[in-house]
């Protein structure tokens, strides 16, 4: 009798097949602290997309996605703690939404063999996959942003901006200083005068910088800000009556949070974006059916359609598509971080795929490879309509200037490789 029971149990276990573990996607979020207003919509969008995939599609390739949220408070030390405490859960990819945390995680993920995706932030030269095996920054990076802003200004001026004055108002940190080298190179190429105006953290007091702008009257102001610095800068620009249509923020200075506190005076302010704003996409119908109406929204459920919610959703979508690619390459649904990296390097985002996902023309088409971890460097310019209370895309996707950026990326990644004795891969 005992042997019969044993045989039956064994047969039942074999018939059921191996139980697949969840695919783990940690969310290093910040719902508290000075930057919570920006961290919340991103975290909500990120989690809601995975909820949608689980509820609508039954997971990724039949395996449920599991989001482990860890609060960083936008604090680098806490971010590293979150990484250490979640990596053992089988984490497939990290997206920390912080350049400071990114810099600390680069050596760690390299040692641990876990992909790090820093979409539009982090270390720009990580675009070079020959050096940065585990770090990705598609679809665009900071230097793409600087170049896209200048290209937009070129478009507005018939391709000639020689003699024009452009001021960069930037957060006086590693993040804010990122575009300086690129803008200096572009200044030399196109002949515009560049003025650098650093703003100390957190950026609540910017009177000196804006009085200087009022005195020197630059033709354009480009901003690299985050958090309270953005709202104060836009308010100060309005105070000195700087023409808002000539004020362009990077994609981290272009959410509803940055313009709404300024009210009507923010009308016409522009910002870059790496995806489209708004909720006018078919995916929102699915989100309503499977997530919002089912009471499964992340957070308070009040962020849908905002710029940063869309960005969180986009980040999750790119992670899911990379996981699908990894499953296809390796012929298994139960993928590892190394397989995930292979999927990311094989990522090919086409317009057909975006339409299929309910996101037609939501983001740029691009492909990733072993050499190119940064995509094609495309971005749009959006403009704030204060009366309607929404961002409108006013350009098509603008290509960054690869002739300038490629050399800078090769130089910076080469220096990193030499410092860390990294041999080039992808040969």
């Amino acid at each position: 009798m005992k042997s019969k029971l044993t045989m039956l149990t064994a047969a039942a276990v074999m018939a059921a097949g191996p139980a697949l573990a969840d695919l783990v996607f940690p969310s290093l979020s910040y719902r508290t602290g000075p930057y919570a207003a920006n961290g919340i919509p991103f975290a909500d969008g990120y989690e809601d997309y995975f909820t949608l995939v689980n509820q609508r599609d039954g997971g990724i390739g039949g395996v449920m996605a599991k989001v482990i949220e860890c609060e960083t408070g936008y604090n680098t030390e806490k971010g590293v703690e979150c990484y250490e405490s979640t990596k053992g859960e089988g984490a497939l990819i990290y997206q920390p939404l912080s350049t400071g945390i990114t810099y600390q995680l680069i050596p760690k993920v390299t040692a641990d063999g876990i992909p790090l995706h820093t979409m539009g932030y982090g270390r720009t030269s990580a675009k070079n996959g020959k050096t940065f095996e585990w770090v990705f920054n598609y679809p665009a990076n900071y230097w793409d942003g600087a170049s896209i802003a200048v290209n937009h200004i070129l478009d507005e001026n018939g391709g000639d901006i020689s003699g024009k004055k452009i001021a960069l108002v930037y957060h006086n940190s590693a993040y804010g200083k990122e575009p300086i080298r690129t803008l200096e190179e572009l200044s030399a190429k196109h002949g515009f005068d560049l003025t650098l105006l650093p703003v100390d953290h957190p950026g609540q007091e910017q009177k000196s910088q804006w009085l200087q702008i009022r005195r020197e009257r630059p033709d354009y102001v480009v901003m690299w800000g985050w958090g309270v610095m953005n709202q104060v800068a836009i308010q100060e620009a309005a105070n000195i009556r700087f023409p808002m249509e000539n004020f362009i923020g990077v994609w981290w200075s272009g959410s509803e949070n940055d313009v709404k506190p300024v009210g009507a005076a923010a009308n016409g302010y522009k910002a870059l974006n790496m995806h489209m704003p708004g909720a006018d996409f078919p995916i929102y119908d699915d989100l309503k059916t499977y997530v919002y109406d089912a009471g499964l929204s992340s957070g308070a459920g009040d962020q849908a359609g905002t710029v940063l919610y869309n960005r969180g959703m986009y980040a999750a979508m790119l992670a899911v598509e990379a996981a699908k690619a990894a499953q296809e390459i390796h012929g298994t649904a139960d993928i590892t971080p190394a397989m995930m990296r292979d999927g990311m390097e094989a990522l090919n985002i086409t317009e057909e795929k975006m339409a299929e996902l309910g996101l037609p023309n939501f983001g740029p088409t691009f492909s990733v490879s072993c050499e190119n971890h940064g995509g094609d460097g495309l971005g749009i310019v959006q403009q704030w309509d204060a009366a309607a209370g929404k961002w409108n895309a006013i350009t098509d996707y603008i290509q960054s200037d690869a002739s300038v950026l490629d050399a800078l990326i090769a130089e910076d990644s080469g220096a990193y490789a030499a410092e860390n004795n990294i041999a080039e891969r992808c040969n």
Binding site: P34, H201, E205, S208, Q209, L211, N239, P261
Partner: protein, 331 residues
């Protein structure tokens, strides 16, 4: 007059205005330190909490809505009213008084006769608690403050002063909000001075500030004085929160304005209300002029650190600050 000179004057005027805003924050620190010897680490968070409460009450936001909805599965967010600014301010003052009573009952009462460092540590705890409490109560989103304060350049000043220079001088820029802040600060200081000099409670407050034991021996209630001074500091925090919140929206980084008050306190002294004002003005003008003259030569962004350098320079000659009380301890 050359344009450069006129622009330097403009920078100086704006420095004075910025200094007033710094002084508004510093005042709250001074009031509590003067009356109880406590360096209130939570003063910046109190400004944040006061501003959050003001906007929440004005816009009819349901406190703890997120928590209530999560527990009971409801969908309540707003009461459906929009209060006039003045009514919301009065109600917020009531909340700050209530907060002062709770702080006295829950924290300060139990720490009588403890070392100042213990009280300081308690205020650190209070700061973290209050920040989290404000988050749960009113949410983390950035709120627009609308109590009817004017914003933007004064065209009148610009037009009248533009004739002083050449075509490259555009007139003095003065933010209307800064002018209001200067007026409010002046009224606040005069009111506080009158209160402390001529009212019974004010005299009691000064007595406690001079000597706790002596004040107790003549029947002054230390607990009442603490509630009173924390209430006044709460009111000052509300004023600071309104002025700073009008510039940037009410958001959690508002608590960081306390950083701007520290050099002011070092310079002006921790125990003097006029010191907070004069210190604020010196810091404001000093940092702005330094940024204007030296900043461009050394890459800019000098204001944060130069404020401390300026304060330290003053401390070399007057360790107790410009208006601080000189402490002589004999052994």
């Amino acid at each position: 007059m050359t344009d450069q000179f006129l622009y330097a004057v403009e920078v100086m005027i704006n420095g004075l205005m910025a200094g007033v805003l710094y002084a508004l924050v510093a005042l709250g620190f001074v009031l509590i330190f003067k009356a109880s010897g406590i360096f209130n680490y939570a003063q910046g968070v109190m400004a944040l909490f006061a501003a959050l409460t003001l906007v929440g009450l004005q816009q009819g936001q349901v406190p703890f809505a997120h928590l209530i909805n999560a527990i009971f599965g409801t969908e309540v967010h707003h009461f459906g009213w929009h209060l006039p600014g003045l009514v919301a301010i009065i109600l917020t003052i009531g909340v700050m008084v209530l907060l002062a009573i709770i702080i006295e009952k829950v924290i300060l009462k139990h720490l009588v006769n403890q070392e100042p460092i213990i009280l300081f540590m308690a205020t650190i705890g209070l700061a973290y608690f209050l920040e989290g409490f404000g988050d749960v109560m009113w949410g983390s989103d950035i709120k627009t403050l609308d109590v009817g304060l004017p914003q933007g350049a004064s065209f009148w000043v610009e037009e009248k002063t533009a004739i002083l220079g050449t075509d490259n001088f555009y007139g003095f820029f003065i933010d209307k909000l800064d002018m209001v802040a200067a007026l409010v600060a002046a009224i606040l200081v005069i009111s506080l001075t009158i209160f402390s000099q001529y009212s019974k409670q004010g005299r009691a407050l000064r007595a406690v500030a001079d000597d706790h034991q002596a004040a107790l021996s003549v029947g002054i209630s230390l607990r009442f004085i603490w509630v009173l001074v924390w209430s006044i500091a709460g009111f000052v925090a509300l004023v600071a929160g309104i002025m700073w919140g009008a510039k940037s929206g009410v958001q959690f980084s508002l608590s960081l304005i306390a950083l701007k008050a520290l050099p002011v306190l070092m310079l002006g002294g921790f125990t003097s209300i006029p010191g907070a004002i004069v210190g604020g003005l010196i810091i404001g003008v000093g940092e702005k002029l330094f940024e204007f003259t030296i900043g461009p030569m050394i890459g800019g962004a000098t204001e944060n650190w130069f404020a401390y350098v300026l304060a330290l320079l003053f401390l070399v000659f007057r360790p107790q600050g410009l208006f601080g009380e000189k402490i002589i301890e004999r052994v």
